[in-house]
């Protein structure tokens, strides 16, 4: 994408103190990687002078890192992707299972059963949770054993995986209860996951982004999910509130989601099911 040409008279001109021009031809298709080249060439020249004539280039950058080792982009991003995969799996599994009851008409039998909507919804959530756990275990195996991202805190990982699974399966059951058709559950779930993934700090702390977006994203659980998973895998703190507080917020989200889901089913029972 770029050609840097060192001219034939480079050494001789340098010794004489003459001006030397380094032609750099850049394929400037987009600003992102063009700017990388634009910064890299002057940087290489400064480094060259700093090494060759240390007395003349005295201003140097001294780096201090907050964490002892660097984390690759994929290793960071894969943790965020895991949270969104739990979200998508939970919504699809919970949503499809709940909507099928309405499509097949079997919801009438459940609603006529002498039990509370909480028990029915708890059963639906646990069933979807058991089915969803297969895909989640598969994702964990791929991340840990194939990609090689080893969690620092295994206990946190399993606790938060369970918590997030309950949250999103309950959300899925809620969506299925409200929509009552399997067909729209799928595009709805996918369409919801994509923007949520991007606003929740998947690539870096959300607070470093746009102030409005970073305020809005704190109202949904994926933001806290990514934060606690980054802590479980890399021991990172990616929110100002810290992983312990984020964990409490997630517990609250889970409780609210299960409660709303059961209330929605209770409302269905009072109003009756119409086909």
């Amino acid at each position: 994408m770029a050609i840097v040409t060192v001219p034939p008279n480079f050494d001789a001109a340098l010794k004489r103190g003459d001006q030397i021009q380094l032609p750099v031809v850049v394929n400037n298709l987009n600003v992102d990687f063009t700017n990388d080249i634009r910064r890299a060439v002057p940087l290489a020249i400064t480094s060259f002078y700093a090494n060759t004539f240390p007395n003349q280039v005295v201003v140097t950058a001294h780096e201090v890192d907050a964490y002892s080792q660097d984390t690759g982009y994929v290793q960071y991003l894969i943790v965020s992707l895991m949270v969104v995969s739990i979200m998508l799996g939970g919504l699809l599994q919970g949503g499809s299972n709940a909507a099928r009851e309405y499509e097949k008409g079997t919801i009438k039998e459940l609603l006529l059963a002498p039990t509370s909507p909480w028990a029915i919804q708890a059963g639906k959530i646990l069933g979807a949770l058991a089915l969803n756990s297969f895909s989640v275990v598969l994702v964990i195996i791929v991340i840990v054993f194939l990609i090689g991202v080893w969690p620092v805190h295994w206990d946190e990982l399993f606790s938060y995986v369970l918590l997030l699974m309950i949250t999103f399966v309950a959300a899925g059951v809620l969506v299925g209860t409200l929509i009552r058709r399997r067909q729209p559950v799928i595009p709805f779930s996918v369409g919801l996951c994509i923007p949520v993934f991007f606003i929740s700090g998947a690539f870096g702390p959300a607070i470093w982004g746009d102030p409005i977006t970073s305020a809005v994203t704190q109202l949904q659980p994926v933001y806290y999910g990514i934060a606690v998973f980054q802590h479980a895998f890399h021991d990172f703190t990616t929110t100002p509130t810290g992983p312990e507080f984020d964990g409490f917020i997630l517990v609250a989200f889970t409780a609210v989601m299960v409660a709303v889901s059961a209330i929605a089913l209770g409302t269905t029972r009072r109003r009756g099911v119409v086909h």
Partner: protein, 202 residues
Amino acid sequence: MLLLLAPLEEGELYIKIMSGTFSVIPIFAIVRKDIGIWLRQPWYIASTVLPAVSLLVILFFFQQAVGRNPVAIVVEDNGPHAQELVKILTNSDAFRIAMITAAQQNAEEALKQLRVAAVITIPSNFDAAFDSHRPDPVTIHINNLNLDFTNDLRRSLPAAITEFYADKNNHNLGSGNTSIVVVPRSGSTSRRQICVNRILNS
């Protein structure tokens, strides 16, 4: 295959395919029925529109994801060289300045609370060390969560120092030479010429 839309009878359109013909009325009736059902189901409308809107929203958020990260600058020296470096850092396209302070503790607190991604410290003896040609390190404390933005920050400070030296060269020599010349070429390629000796002459 021949497809024709022709009025075979008065007031009614027919489609003619090869040798057969049939009325268009059932086609439009089915379309009308499907759209009618779709319009009566808010969840269907949402599930149709949401994926498309999501993809558009991605562009906006992705731009932010690869955007500039906030950085704090601690300026402990008020000398002209230090101020010049601050000016260059402020105009950097690699990060945005969220805080300029003389108190190191405030900046480090901002780093701890994730209000900034890095703290650049220009030491109190910056000008004196520069003038006397002594080692003059500028410290950058980076929250190195992932390599993508960490590398941007790593490159940006040396790039600013390079620009700092380039400016020094122009001012000190008064040569009037343009250090960096960008000559756009046809197509999608640009040519950039960089004067190597501008630092050596300063």
